[in-house]
Amino acid sequence: MSTTATANLIEAKDLTLRYGRSKVALERASFSIPKGRVVGLLGHNGAGKTSLMKALVGLLPGEGELSVLGLDPRRQRGALLEQLCYIPDVAVLPRWAKVSELMTLMSGLQPRFSAQRARDLLKRTSVAEGDRVKNLSKGMVVQVHLALIAAIDARLMILDEPTLGLDVISRKGFYEMLIDEWCDGERSVLISTHQVEEVESLLSDVMMLDEGRLVLNISLEDIDQRFTALSHDATLADEFAAAHPLLRYRQSGGRSAVIFDGAPPAALAGMGERIRPSLVDLFMALTRNPALHSKSA
């Protein structure tokens, strides 16, 4: 067990999570996250993203096998929380506190927290140590939160929708801090988000959840190998539809495109131009949006 723990920061096998007696939040998911990765966790609301992240930090019991940093999140939660950084989707910082007071608090709570590192990270932002949380914008609060969390000497960071409700400038600042200050080839981060297009270039891997099932778990490099996207003239739509692609969509400029899982039928390969299957298109192809399907159900 210790050998797999050193190779992978997270190891899950047939992990099932339940809410109450009957509702299944995650169904027999198996995956691993090695070091040095930026893993995007994508899914519609209610797909199981938050449940999975809670289970990883020991807040939700599960069936199956789960090891995080070589520890059992439920039984060894205290030891685990000293070694990982977690920002839940409901995270709030106390509004009355000064940033400097939060740093003092963190120093007392977290043995691996470095106040000096937090100060260095804060210098990237427009926030001063004397500022009170209640006087900061939403984007600044998130940056303070990330600075505090990233100042923990840990190998794994888990972020549940950190950019929710932020404007584009704040999101960019957040991504820059993540790439500059966290990605060092050793540490990994698991990040859930709805900003699929924005985070695509930041990711090394992606996990997609659809109604509790892990429908895709792949590196960005392998996406280019496995999936084929073909752009074609709209007049050829019937031929392409007949080959049952994973997804058909309209491109800007009046052309159409399809995505195949694997190579397209040989007859069609010459009729279209090969393009990059984007993450957002794959997401559309592989997951069902409950908001769109609820009416017909």
Binding site: E198, S201, S204, E221, R276
Partner: protein
């Protein structure tokens, strides 16, 4: 934020952008490229994707890895690049452009070649 289109994989688009800069002499031959971390930060791209882009340039003989020191522009990289870019233009872009010029009835004298030089 830097934008990437769906014409090619992101690492390929980054490799193409870096190649255009090499063609403009930035950085010049024999000089070092920015580090993987710097490029990742500049373009907001995962470092592994940056490494793939650099490997593509290595495979084309435009840059080389010097142990422990990073990536350097090879001698003759600019000329090699210029040659392949010219080939690419003549084979892929020029036929379309020529057809359009002919359709519009534009000849060499109408193009005012030297004006912007």
């Amino acid at each position: 934020m830097p934008t990437w289109n769906d014409s090619a994989p992101i690492y390929q688009q980054l490799a193409d952008r870096l190649a255009v800069q090499l063609l403009d002499g930035s950085p010049p031959e024999g000089d070092a490229l920015p580090s993987v971390r710097q490029l990742a930060s500049t373009y907001l791209i995962n470092p592994l994707t940056v490494s793939r882009a650099l490997q593509a340039l290595v495979d084309n003989g435009l840059i080389e890895s010097r142990r422990g020191m990073g990536m350097y522009v090879t001698a003759g990289a600019r000329l090699r690049l210029l040659h392949s870019e010219r080939e690419q233009f003549l084979q892929k872009e020029w036929p379309t452009l020529r057809a359009k010029l002919q359709r519009l009835g534009l000849g060499a004298n109408d193009l005012k070649w030297e004006q912007n030089q």
